[in-house]
């Protein structure tokens, strides 16, 4: 029998027992819906995590440190013995060189320093950090109270909520208010180490000088002078923004990176450079190199290593995360498939019942010239059609369940003052796979009834009343 005729006859048979076949198809649809809802949850969570982590700067960043600094993190690095490249300084020339590498979007230094904050006459100790303007896209700032810095060099500050709570119980009221940032400014001593450091009114010097060789134009030492900078509080952020994972511990008061650099704040590296006879030359603990996308991290990291720097990225963690989600999705898929398995038993039951009811009809078909293969294909087509329709309806139901989950979650999140999220996601591949899987499972379920129908003895079948 030709496919067109087979389809017409199967459709006619399905229409004849409309109620029973519809209920069976609905059973399949519920099974597929459960599968799709489960997997869409897995996919949604994975996309959410990936998006958040990518925004966090964890996955598109390479932290560049001096090799000598990295030794301090746990002994010699892998293959270090064979690596004869001398350690490079992490300074502005290195920053410029790194920014010229392919696939590099930006390179910015880690500027973090202890500070004293004066707010409404009270003093608070904390750590401040400079963050680049590109951090605006970080997920951490989504739905923050207030707004991000208005300009790259705006004298503004964003507070981390725990620190903000120290300043006021009503953290929202802090926005728009002013605070004073007290910090230590680095001032190079002139070659004549007897000269006094420059002082400004309202500040007092705390000299730190050395008698080491005085062949540097910038002098042989530096002094640290306390300064104050007025900053306007523009936002309070819920989570502690990573701004690249190089900022171990990060800051609880965030200021624009350009401001942090312009303030010439004394850094621990200043002391190190001075002892190395590099006084006055700016260097950093580390540089964060942001690459175009996570896929480019490996090549950029390799290039940086060749330049003589130590690097660190979270690439391996990404792989592990992907593995975790594969296992998670598989488990959800297995639970979702259980419902579809139960539904497939419904198909077997429906078709076996159909064989009993249509026994005589099968006999007539065979008497008129239907081959066993035709009868088998007819039952297969009926099972497949139920699977296909069940799959389509099921995908729609699963999508609707996902939407309902999203809606309910976002209502809750809104009440908590948190930004909305997409908890469930139904990508096209899931739509196609779910319908295909439903069709396939239905055909498997139809195998036994179809085979039984095909094997019916036509003489016996014709006698059946």
């Amino acid at each position: 029998m030709k496919l067109g005729d087979l389809t017409e006859l199967a459709a006619r048979n399905l229409r004849e027992a409309m109620l029973r076949n519809s209920l069976t198809t609905l059973g399949i649809a519920v099974g597929v819906a459960s599968l799709v809802a489960m997997l869409s949850l897995g996919v949604g969570l994975q996309e959410l995590a990936s998006s958040r982590l990518t925004h966090s700067g964890l996955f598109d960043a390479v932290i560049v440190m001096s090799k000598s600094t990295m030794r301090g993190f746990g002994g010699p690095m892998q293959n270090e013995a064979a690596d004869a490249t001398p350690p490079r300084r992490i300074d502005d020339p290195a920053r410029k060189e790194l920014s010229e590498l392919p696939n590099v979007v930006e390179v910015y230094p880690e500027v973090r320093f202890p500070t004293e904050i004066v707010f409404e006459g009270k003093s608070f100790s904390t750590t401040a950090a400079g963050i680049p303007v590109s951090a605006r896209d970080d997920g951490a700032y989504d739905g923050m109270n207030g707004k991000f810095f208005s300009a790259p060099d705006a004298p503004e500050a964003i507070l981390q909520i725990e620190f903000a709570k120290q300043l006021s119980d009503n953290t929202g009221s802090l926005i728009g208010k002013e605070l004073s940032l007290r910090y230590g400014e680095r001032q190079a001593l002139p070659p004549d180490n007897t000269a006094k450091p420059e002082t400004k009114s309202g500040s007092k010097g705390a000299g730190a000088s050395t008698d080491a060789s005085a062949d540097d134009d910038e002098g042989t030492g530096f002094s640290v002078v306390t300064r104050e900078k007025k900053l306007k509080i523009v936002g309070v952020v819920e989570t502690e923004p990573a701004a690249g994972f190089g900022g171990f511990g990060r800051g609880r008061l965030l200021i624009p990176l350009a401001i942090a650099q312009a303030l010439k704040i004394a850094q621990p590296t200043d002391m190190r450079e001075m002892l190395r006879g590099q006084n006055g030359k700016v260097s950093y603990d580390s540089l964060t190199v942001r690459v175009k996308n996570p896929a480019a991290v490996q090549s950029v990291e390799d290039a940086i290593k060749k330049m003589g720097f130590g690097t660190f990225s979270i690439l391996d963690a990404t792989k592990n995360l992907r593995l975790v989600f594969i296992v998670f999705d598989s488990l959800l898929g297995i639970f979702g498939s259980l419902a579809l398995t139960v539904a497939s038993l419904g198909i077997i039951n429906t078709l076996v019942m159909a064989i009993l009811e249509r026994r005589r009809e099968i006999g007539i078909l065979k008497a008129l010239g239907a081959a066993d293969r035709d009868v088998r294909r007819l039952f297969f087509a009926e099972a497949g059609a139920m699977g296909l329709f069940g799959g389509i309806v099921g995908v729609f139901l699963g999508w609707a369940i996902g939407r309902a989950l999203n809606f309910a979650t976002n209502v809750y999140l809104k009440k908590q003052g948190l930004p909305p999220i997409d908890l469930s996601s139904v990508p096209l591949w899931l739509v196609g796979s779910a319908i295909g899987f439903s069709f396939f499972v239905s055909l498997i379920a139809g195998m036994y009834p179809a085979s039984r129908a095909a094997k019916l003895d036509p003489v016996e079948a014709l006698r059946y009343e």
Binding site: M1, K2, G4, D5, L9, R12, E16, R360, E361, G363, I364, L365, K366, A367, L368, G369, A370, A371, D372, R373, D374, D457, P458, V459, L462
Partner: protein, 235 residues
């Protein structure tokens, strides 16, 4: 008379069909040897349980003999695969049943078209073939009716049209008048005779009605207890 190729339309050689009934074996057809020439109208006569319907099923390729050979146009059905038997039923044989066996959810037209679907006849060719068969049994006005909307005689004529639509060479009829009143039964028999004469179609008809067999069939084969009792041409 053998057909144009010089062969018989049907030939059986010592055909046996034995059914297993618990521990005992029951021979429904027991060593029957017959030949039916092309264009013959043969009545298989016998009482209930004589094995005539079993023999008809064997000739149709619906059942397989336990032993012996059955030839349709010199092709041995006993050696055919399941698919080849289906092809035989579809292309060589037309069947008419006592209970009509029309599919109730299909219209007369769809019922008649069904063998064409199974024989994979081109869709464009089908309407003409259906019309030709329906016109032959004079049921054109009832094309869109379902079997339940037709009388017994009309249903059997529809069944006959369905049997003719694939233009078979052999028509097998199992008690075609068994469910009909005398007048309607005669009309069906007239139709069978007309088909036999105008189309030259070989007809083997199972019946237990001796009078009707003698009136319409050209030859009567009598069976009893699965065996051939007599085989005679009606004068």
């Amino acid at each position: 008379m053998p057909d144009a190729t010089g062969s018989h339309a049907i030939r059986t050689e010592h055909v046996m069909r034995v059914y297993q009934m618990g521990d005992s074996q029951v021979p429904a057809v027991n060593g029957v040897t017959i030949t039916v020439d092309a264009g013959e109208f043969v009545a298989l006569l016998g009482s209930s349980g004589s094995g005539k319907s079993t023999l008809l099923n064997l000739l149709a390729g619906l059942d397989r003999p336990t032993s012996g050979a059955i030839y349709a146009h010199e092709k041995n059905l006993a050696e055919m695969s399941s698919g080849e038997l289906a092809h035989h039923r579809s292309h060589t044989i037309g069947m008419v049943f006592q209970a009509f066996n029309l599919l109730p959810r299909m219209t007369l037209e769809e019922n008649v078209e069904l063998p064409l679907r199974l024989a994979e006849v081109e869709r464009a060719e089908r309407p003409a073939r259906v019309r030709e068969a329906v016109e032959r049994v004079r049921l054109t006005a009832r094309l869109s009716h379902r079997p339940t909307e037709l009388s017994g005689g009309e249903q059997q004529r529809a069944s006959l049209a369905r049997a003719l639509v694939n233009r078979p060479t052999i028509l097998l009829a199992d008690e075609p008048t068994g469910n009909l009143d005398s007048h309607t039964g005669d009309a069906i028999m007239d139709l069978l005779t007309e088909i036999n004469r105008t189309l030259g179609m070989t007809i083997v008809m199972v019946t237990h009605d001796r009078a009707r067999a003698e009136r319409y069939a050209g030859r009567i084969i009598t069976m009893g207890d699965g065996k051939l009792i007599s085989d005679g041409v009606r004068v």
